[in-house]
Symmetry: D2
């Protein structure tokens, strides 16, 4: 029996970099949580403890902060591309660089109805995310994969949601529902179909992100839902239809159950008004929706 090293990667996770850009008296914040992972020829450190090919995670951290100063005001996807390029360019034994980014959003504080130029409140309604994977190919060039996304976005609709016609078996107790609350906490990612770093760097990720999230939310609001699965598919389909270069969307949607409270023991009728918001367990709906001709995902997304 021989024991060998399989898939492996390492890096510095959760570098909390805050980049202030000062445009005269008007300031801007870029607030990121950046995680780097490198893969390649790392047998020596695992098997023998030789670190001759190991770029320390501390150095990766320094690089993230140094680059945040060199390259201000970037979209997270673009910052990830530049970091991945750096690690592949300078570390010949690294064959894949991955950067995951969380962007925390800030709104300007309103003073007398006007946005203040240098004071902010954090907008925790959602976290914007991005992920970049860059692979060194056999011919020495790089192949890039970029996805964008959101997480921590909680949405709810008070009408246009039903769940009927499902399988009944020995363990069924759930009644059919023709008018229920639907609520979920969206984790969504969408892939950009180009795999060329130069093309990707020119993309207007800010605009694409704005369109994608608006379309996702509007579809959720306006769609008459027969199941959370159907709503997931509809949101993703509309996002791709509007921006076909978002060639695939992956969503993970916990069904945040709101149970109607039985008030009949107290002589009260609960006409779909009072609910208890439950914590656990929860339904969990996960799917990928894609253009039938979408290019390969590479390693940008984990299989579940």
């Amino acid at each position: 029996m021989k024991i060998e090293l399989g898939d492996n990667r390492y890096g510095k996770a959760e570098n909390r970099v805050v980049r202030i850009t000062r445009e005269q008296s008007n300031h801007h914040i870029l607030d990121l949580n950046v995680s780097v992972q490198l893969s390649g020829d790392f047998d020596d450190t695992h098997l023998n403890g030789s670190n001759a090919k190991v770029l320390p995670t501390d150095t990766q951290k320094n690089t993230v902060f140094a680059f945040a100063q060199k390259y201000p005001a970037m979209e997270p996807e673009a910052f990830g591309l530049i970091l991945c390029e750096h690690f592949l360019d300078t570390q010949s034994h690294v064959t894949r660089a991955e950067v995951r980014l969380e962007q925390f959003l800030w709104d300007r504080i309103q003073v007398d109805g006007k946005p203040h130029p240098r004071a902010f409140q954090r907008n925790s309604t959602l976290t914007r995310t991005a992920r970049v994977v860059m692979d060194r190919t056999a011919n020495g060039s790089n192949e890039s994969f970029v996805s964008s996304g959101v997480q921590d976005l909680v949405i709810l609709k008070t009408s246009d949601s039903e769940f009927t016609g499902f399988i009944k078996d020995h363990y069924t107790t759930l009644p059919e529902a023709t008018d229920r609350i639907m609520a979920t906490q969206v984790s969504a990612k969408w892939r950009h179909d180009s795999h060329d770093a130069q093309t990707l760097k020119k993309k207007d990720f800010a605009k694409s992100y704005k369109l994608a999230t608006q379309k996702m939310l509007a579809t959720f609001a306006e769609h008459h839902s027969l199941s959370l699965q159907q709503t997931l598919f509809e949101m993703a389909k509309e996002m791709i239809t509007e921006q076909p270069d978002l060639c695939a969307v992956q969503m993970s949607l916990p069904n945040k159950h709101h149970f109607l409270v039985d008030l009949s023991p107290f002589g009260q009728e609960n006409t779909n008004e009072v609910f208890i918001a439950a914590d656990r367990p929860y339904g969990l709906i996960e799917a990928v929706v894609n253009r039938d001709d979408a290019p390969d995902a590479g390693f940008i997304w984990p299989a579940w």
Copy 2:
């Protein structure tokens, strides 16, 4: 040696009640986390295990949900007052009822620039809070204490913050700072000066809350800060000055440190641009600011 029961209270905590109000096709959400605590003559259950005077926490929970149906569309402070009154009115051996409320906020989803009447996204920028304490007095009437507040509100300013002139001792290494990032996560509560339930129930808590938070944020934005302590006092002072019936403000402000990253080893100058957001440790500034003639706080606020 005799061992006796001291201060005690009990109740059902974290009742997650969601109340939908349907105004024709336009729906409203009231999303609360309600905790009830009762104090009074409970020696028997502690000392002897007799529950003859115990209103079970399960019954308290039922009451919260039943009242949420009976009394729709209330401000959290008003809902707390009604619950406290109920427990004092119906449980003669209860001498104090306390209700703490967290309100989770929801914005309407925008569809083509218009707010949707029945679809929402949670606004996690802050959590609105309220606290009601109602005491049965010697003459049999009730004395009510109400505070309102916010928590989880993260704010940051990129200018007008310095920290100089402090004590230097054997353990000092901190340099003086004339231009630093100031960031904090606000937990604030403010007391309403009336102790009369009927007066309090008529108060426009929604308007008061809006004014208080706007003033707090505007003061943070516009104030030139010489210390976080000074900023705390200034915010509280302005809130009370604008609404003197908010007779006292208590704030707990962690100093969320953003440290300037030293880029000189890499030949780069960091001109107040790139920061690392630190988790722990953090400074913690806590104070009460009040009108000199503010009535007693009673048990509405814990001493630290």
Copy 3:
């Protein structure tokens, strides 16, 4: 109307200090989370922004780490006493120093049945806590208050717990239970009755802590419970009876509900075997139990 500064304090919170003591090849870990708060004459910084009397929280942090090197292998209570003394001794305008400590416990890793001298696994079964408050008195001497405690300790018993004979009202649906699961997550603190720093420093806090927690757990296990309130009182009473210098015990006990699952729709009988562990809401039982002649608590414990 005059607006004034009320109660206030400030300090550095959550200093994560790990102290390794090397006794030849046998090593020991002291793993603490230390929070310092100072009160006194701090009007100037709040009202005018003058920091002439402010010992920066950064300096407090440095002091914590420096003292951890100077004073190895201390019990958390003793470490808190030394820190409080330092701040009162060196800062004449400080009138109260408070130190809260969390101690994370580590067990030695077992290798072939023997404890390893230099390798550890964290024991997260509970967190040991301590709290020290030191007040400068009118005559210039100090008055010290020390409490010890535990938190994050989850305990459960599968027998000897009932809940019957409680009040029934319009909102009651809970059936009586003669054999239920009782589970709680203990937060407990107990006060030492001496207020003299020199006496307290000589106390064997390690032994006292061990006795107190063993007695608490054994009482929980052996007690036949008629309510969680009764169990709380019984545990505290036994702790004080065994060690009367623990003159008062404060406990906060969430009732972690385990609901019997109704399996009758599936033709199965659930004879007290299968439960769902619920998250929210939960009952919450809080009380102080004390010797009738216990000295004043001072500011060691917040009122609720």
Copy 4:
């Protein structure tokens, strides 16, 4: 352009089932968090909203609780196998069932040095995990994949850890370390090499789990580490060598940095005694180690 449904699955997550087994007066607890996911022919619900093939997640929840009563005292791996079999046997359009389990451990409370038969304290030192994936194959039989694991296990060694000889580049500031603290929070999974459900059900998972975790811990303790990567490989290799049917081990090891505190500004020398435990960022080392002839992993483990 056609838009289609890709990989998808759904189910009930985080069913918190507590199973008490009463062996006369001696009771046992099985405390699980069970998550079920089903995949198969679910195009209809996603594309058209027809739920004719949807077994509701509520029914899956009921099944978990009903089976916990029917099949007491099982190891988590075996419980997962039985659940997967049920869903594949009864739902002909389901082609894959996955069950993830977390087991929370309980120790008996010690009373006078003896374990109590019916009172417990939760042992949060680690969480035991298991994962079962069962695939319906082309010939109609099932192929099963089972992994076991641990998470939330924090370990630390105070000697025998160095990190030297690494790459230095423009962004390097880290000094070499010949004697550092090494600490990590282990998430580890190991695969059982049989894919046959009947064989797997007969396996002594309790014994295998105990051996695997003991070997992992002992190797961490005794190994002289030149890098966390080397330690990871060594732990996994020893686990497989001892139990070759654990054909592959996947580990995710955050490097929980403990930084030596510079006490020289205070005239103190820190001889590897006082450290600050940092939160973020942290190094993250991830790898699979396997027998060179290990069977395919199937979908038991996500690619990163």
